[in-house]
Symmetry: C4
Subunit: 214 residues, 4 copies
């Protein structure tokens, strides 16, 4: 399988999942009182929608950055990619769960936040599996230099730690847990460590950005 098809299928799944988030904010039709009071009760789904939209957006950007290093797409990589997608497709479900139960509060809200955090943690594990598979020398060409490996690992393992913290927070306050997720997204919007060896990849990719600081 070529890398193009791996990217294409993953992008299509991400695009459907990100659009399915809108199913969460499907407002109830007439017969539930004035719309203004319906909407004022329904602000949580909109906030959760926004945060999850950027979460999947960040997954999309990082997926590309990770996969762009790959020279050989083998069975293992496809398998780990599907593991990642299993959790990505769960995001709309977990988002709705959290939005629904956030207004209820109590142990149900905490459990919903744990499921939400666990879905993110599942994505982080999927990424780490892909990363470690790709870091083996034979998957990339030319091999990724040690410094890049270190920064790449730091980045993905720190997401792992972050999402474990999100799960931990869920037991204290579901709202804090959601806020921490949002902060994580913002962090990833501004920071990204592509693994690709600095100069070589640029030449073969006309649309690549100019080398950052080098």
């Amino acid at each position: 399988m070529s890398r193009a098809r791996l990217e294409f299928f993953s992008d299509a799944v991400l695009a459907v999942a990100i659009t399915m988030l809108a199913l969460n904010i499907w407002v109830a039709g007439p017969g539930h009182g004035p719309l203004s009071s319906v909407l004022s009760h329904e602000w949580r789904p909109w906030v959760a929608y926004l945060i999850s939209f950027f979460t999947i957006g960040v997954v999309w950007v990082n997926h590309h950055a990770l996969v762009s290093n790959v020279r050989v797409v083998d069975r293992g990589l496809l398998f780990f990619n599907i593991v990642l997608l299993v959790f990505v497709v769960q995001i709309p479900v977990a988002t709705r769960l959290l939005a629904d139960y956030l207004s209820v509060g109590g142990p149900s809200a905490r459990l919903a936040a744990v499921v939400y955090g666990a879905t993110h943690e599942g994505m982080a594990v999927g990424y780490i599996l892909m990363l470690e598979w790709i870091l083996r020398d034979k998957q990339t060409q030319p091999p990724i230099p040690s410094r890049r490996r270190l920064t790449g690992r730091l980045k993905y393992y720190s997401a792992h730690v972050l999402y474990l913290t999100v799960i931990g927070c869920a037991f204290i306050s579901p709202m804090l847990s959601l806020a921490l997720s949002a902060v994580t997204d913002v962090y990833y919007v501004f920071k990204q460590t592509p693994l690709r060896p600095m100069r070589t990849a640029q030449r073969s990719d006309a649309a690549a950005p100019p080398p950052e600081g080098g």
Copy 2:
């Protein structure tokens, strides 16, 4: 990230969103009286479906026209692109809201029209953010000439003004607001200002139309 993947992901999200519009016109099954009376009550969703379908169609055409100028796809552009998509994916939700509450009338219908207009305004803001980002010299190659910058800005900022008017109309008449949206779509179907420098881009794109009036 290459421009191709940016276009691909955006197109896929637009394609899912445009198809999700059909969920709005899902007619109730048997048990609600004869179909003829069900359909005659349900004409509003079909009109709203048609208008929103062309709205997203116009977004698709303009997105391509805007992005085709880009040489360097950087983090900022991806971020603003996701801002645009957040509002595009809201279109099916806002359309259903408007179709549902239009028949109710009163303050709820007006509020639904405001939400509908605000979603469009959000898209206009997303476009303007992308436009201004792209207009900085380093994003395009060759640089876009001043005259083109002016016409491009005129076009996107006028959409901004138009949608603010749509929101304003919503407070007077939701139906007028919807009609104005439709007129805006028709306007954009016939008018488009690609930013790309006239001659140069043609050469590199075999499928490009012949220069208009030049």
Copy 3:
């Protein structure tokens, strides 16, 4: 806009619409008696699903055959393409309507069959608009020879006549109308008239089939 993006967006919309057909056959959960009796009452949605699946499949094949002739993708073609897609995305809605009301019978079933036929007729009109737009000399390169134009027109205008007949049949028997749709699909599975000038297109397309009978 390049032809590739036109094809891509249309394909994505078709893919989502064809998959949304499955939402029509979503079987009711436990609590409605034994599954065997639920399924034996629900055979109509499955038949309608099958027929509409092949309808959209045929649309996909013909869309490609038609568009593959185009050299210049202009605003008019995009507009007519969106007209076609408006009706394609209606297919899942009209299919469910027909499946739901077929078991009711009477005037509601006939009306549902008319809506179903009208959706197909809308697609035929969309195709004819695209065809006539493409047949103007400046849209294709090299120009399509007269004999090909005639067979192309015959094909698309005969679909127009067929679907008007489907609508007519709807007033007599909704089931006959559905059966005629199915026959139309089978006909188009086996017959297709690409417009493309015979030899020239082959050279530029490595995956093209060998010339038929030439």
Copy 4:
């Protein structure tokens, strides 16, 4: 039609279908008791989700492996491809049916497992139709050597036998039937026999894996 468009459309349908699986695990909102008891009753949909996700993932990998041999995409191949997709799109429906009725038990659960198995069997038949069509000499270039034909046939016909066994098991125990499906997926994750002639294809595909054992 080029092979690229066949792959693209199939991938898009698979991507939407795999994401629609998530609709099966849409957890009920507040008002059904504490979330912990709701989730503990709802574990079956999650298991079924996981298994079906990998089923469609495997279909995707195998579809590519099969189609990558094709030189000539003709009408027959497109038709058989649509037959395959008809059953793939049924997977989310059949999965939900099984998940819903598994907790009920009795003849309804057995029937749901038969429908689930029959959907898989339908996919196997679609694959075999495509395989036999492709194995005719004129569809591939260079012709596939006899040994490869044999291993290819063995693989696809054994799936056929496996899924008939899944259907048979359904009459004894629906849970056993689901477990056997899961085992089949795992088997296909680790084993795949691309038909492509060993050396030749490698040269034309820069991202191809190094020859296995040769």
